[in-house]
């Protein structure tokens, strides 16, 4: 019950931020020198009258604040306007593209957590031994390397040189297998999706992995120095159990926060990784929208990504409150 109240409280807190995001994107998209109308008419003969008509059609002739109110009213109904470039509703376009991006980001997180947490614990436990140094260097390289370049190198090695894995595209496991020619049954579809997902997942996940590993290591070191660990040792608790239960549980709390906050890096990274691997997700849609000055679409995407980030932070905050008994609901921050 308390948790539910806390959840509602946190959701309400997010509203001003979401409004803020809409204001910022709206201003950026509308104050810039890029003129969507002339862009649409590029290379065509056009009269003043045609421009007027188009402006009226997209509501570009009205003052800024009126347009914002209209936009927000639409937003509440789920209408994000019409993409100028694609000539389709923005919401529908995004619905198609959000799946691959979420698949990519979530799998990258899964990869990062599954690898980083054990490595971080091992490093903390064997502090200043060779395995610790090796994993610290790996983590340093991980936080210092651009995700898109990791993608390029992975393609060069595993696709171009070795030919083991595909270098582009993605198979969506949620589609029926019949949607893909040559794919026979769900099993094969899953296999193909996994094969296609592997390289982009590693490319996007490496930075997360390295970040989480570093935090995990410091947290475990700190936790292992805690008085409660000393007490557990003094009461004869086996070292393995101390590591996996007593020290581990406390060290995980900051990881939850990190995962939520890093979502913004991961969503940004998805733009790059999707470009490198030719994945038709939100990232590539965003790049297309930017390069065609499709301001409605840009606004929609920015809003959605901001919303996803805020949502991610709220989810991690709530799970933090759930895991850490010390959080007094609603009074946090």
């Amino acid at each position: 019950m308390k948790l539910l109240k806390y959840t509602i409280h946190r959701l309400l807190q997010a509203i001003p931020v979401l409004i803020g995001i809409s204001v910022i994107t709206f201003l950026l998209a509308n104050l810039g020198p890029g003129d969507p109308v002339s862009l649409m008419l590029q290379g065509q003969e056009h009269s003043e009258e045609l421009i007027r008509t188009i402006e009226r059609r997209y509501g570009l002739d009205r003052p800024l604040h009126e347009r914002y109110v209209t936009y927000m009213a639409g937003l509440l109904r789920g209408d994000l306007g019409q993409s100028i470039h694609y000539q389709r509703p923005v919401a529908a376009l995004m619905m198609e593209r959000v799946g691959p991006t979420l698949l990519l980001v979530l799998s990258a997180y899964a990869f990062a957590l599954v690898t980083a947490i054990p490595l971080g614990i091992v490093a903390a436990n064997r502090r200043n031994e060779p395995s610790d140094h090796a994993s610290r260097i790996a983590a340093l390289v991980g936080v210092s390397t651009p995700s898109f370049w990791i993608g390029i190198v992975l393609i060069l090695v595993f696709a171009v040189q070795l030919g083991w894995l595909p270098s582009s595209g993605l198979y969506y496991p949620w589609r029926p297998p019949s949607a893909y020619p040559g794919i026979d049954g769900h099993l094969e579809l899953y296999y193909e999706s996994a094969r296609h997902l592997l390289l982009p997942m590693i490319a996007l996940g490496t930075l997360q992995m390295a970040t989480i590993m570093r935090v995990e290591r410091t947290q475990m070191i700190e936790s292992l120095q805690g008085e409660y660990v000393k007490l557990a040792r003094a009461y004869g608790v086996p070292e393995r159990k101390i590591l996996r239960k007593h020290a581990f549980q406390v060290a995980q709390l900051p990881i939850i926060t990190i995962v939520g906050l890093n979502l913004s890096t991961a969503l940004g990274g998805a733009v790059l990784v999707e470009t490198v691997f030719n994945i038709n997700g939100m990232g590539r849609l965003f790049i297309n929208a930017i390069s065609t000055n499709d301001y409605q679409l840009v606004m929609g995407i920015t809003m959605l990504l901001g919303f996803l980030f805020v949502l991610g932070v709220i989810i991690t905050d709530i799970s933090y409150a759930y895991v850490d008994p010390r959080v007094t609901y609603g009074e946090r921050e």
Partner: protein, 344 residues
């Protein structure tokens, strides 16, 4: 958006050093001593020094910039080095601009295999227009370092002002500023920077620098604010206020200097993040524009020549990696030196 403060406690911010300024000065000497002893920090310092030297060298050396911008394949790396006596292929200053290369867009494929390098003329080979790759990578240092330093400085300055004001005054001022900061923070930086750069400025490195700086204001504002909140309650601030010292002076003389150590660490680490972001930005075509050599942009172009010369896609990445690693190592070392909790 209530992102908990605990991230800074748990993450990278060092333990507080709220002592009086005398102790802070002793602390600085101690810090320097520890940096000298700390292997991590020392290596970081070496790399950063080399990178900075190369960046400055690229500005000063006119041969280098002509070679980088110049097109002809008969300009070589060896001409840079005075020990190799190469006569006269270099045109006198002023003429170099005539040789501006045509820009080859991403899609265009090379029609013949590119030279692989490994010679003294072209240690890393040449790019698709025959320009020496090593020289371009060296010149690329300048853009990355410049962008990293300037935009971090913008973020740091903006963040310090906003964070200090919000933390010091509290109340409504704090509320409004922090909501604003949270809003900017909520938009993924790369997205925000691209939207800002393209819609406000048109793809241009200056707007990119400004955009990156703005995107990282929230990070600094939050750290400064939380430091200010803890310092604000200290007795000597109370005393200064009671003695009638102006708010602005209290902030500038006491609050900001006392927050400096953790922010310095954070800024060093942030330079790495910034270079990472700018590389991505340039890779997408929204950073430095040709013919200015930039690592991200070089990777963009080499992407089209993946099959003719694999190494063109490797070298700029390694350059990015080493540069960022230098700043990260230095930042980590600095943090260890300032944070007595974690002894190595």
């Amino acid at each position: 958006m209530a992102v908990s403060e605990s991230q800074y406690e748990s993450g990278r911010e060092p333990a507080s050093e709220d002592e009086e300024s005398v102790e802070a000065r002793v602390g600085w000497r101690y810090t320097v001593a520890r940096i000298k002893r700390d292997t991590t920090a020392r290596w970081g310092l070496y790399i950063v020094t080399v990178v900075l030297f190369v960046a400055v060298y690229a500005v000063v050396d006119s041969n280098l910039s002509r070679l980088t911008f110049g097109v002809a394949s008969d300009y070589t790396f060896a001409q840079l080095l005075p020990i190799f006596d190469h006569p006269t292929h270099i045109p006198p200053p002023g003429e170099g601009t005539q040789h501006m290369p045509p820009y080859f867009p991403l899609a265009e494929q090379s029609w013949n295999p590119l030279p692989a390098g490994g010679t003294i003329e072209h240690p890393l080979g040449t790019d698709h227009t025959g320009r020496d790759y090593f020289t371009r990578i060296v010149y690329g240092t300048q853009v990355s370092v410049f962008v990293g330093l300037v935009s971090t400085f913008i973020g740091l300055t903006g963040g310090t002002i906003i964070g200090a004001v919000a933390g010091y005054y509290g109340g409504r001022v704090d509320d409004i500023l922090m909501r604003l900061v949270e809003t900017v923070y909520a938009i993924p930086p790369l997205i925000l920077i691209i939207v800002f750069t393209v819609f406000v400025g048109g793809a241009n490195i200056w707007y990119a620098v400004l955009g990156v700086g703005i995107a990282f204001i929230p990070v600094f504002a939050r750290i400064i604010r939380s430091r200010v909140l803890s310092i604000r309650e200290m007795d000597y601030i109370e005393a200064a206020r009671a003695a009638g010292v102006k708010d602005r002076n209290i902030i500038m003389r006491h609050v900001v200097p006392n927050s400096f150590a953790p922010v310095l660490v954070y800024a060093t680490l942030q330079i790495g993040v910034t270079i990472l972001i700018v590389a991505g930005l340039s890779f997408l075509g929204y950073g430095a524009q040709p013919p200015t050599p930039d690592w991200g942009q070089m990777l963009n172009i080499s992407h089209g020549y993946m099959h003719s010369n694999v190494w063109l896609s490797i070298w700029p990445g390694i350059a990015i990696m080493i540069t960022i690693m230098g700043f990260n190592l230095f930042g980590d070392g600095l943090q260890d030196a300032l944070d007595p909790r974690i002894e190595d």
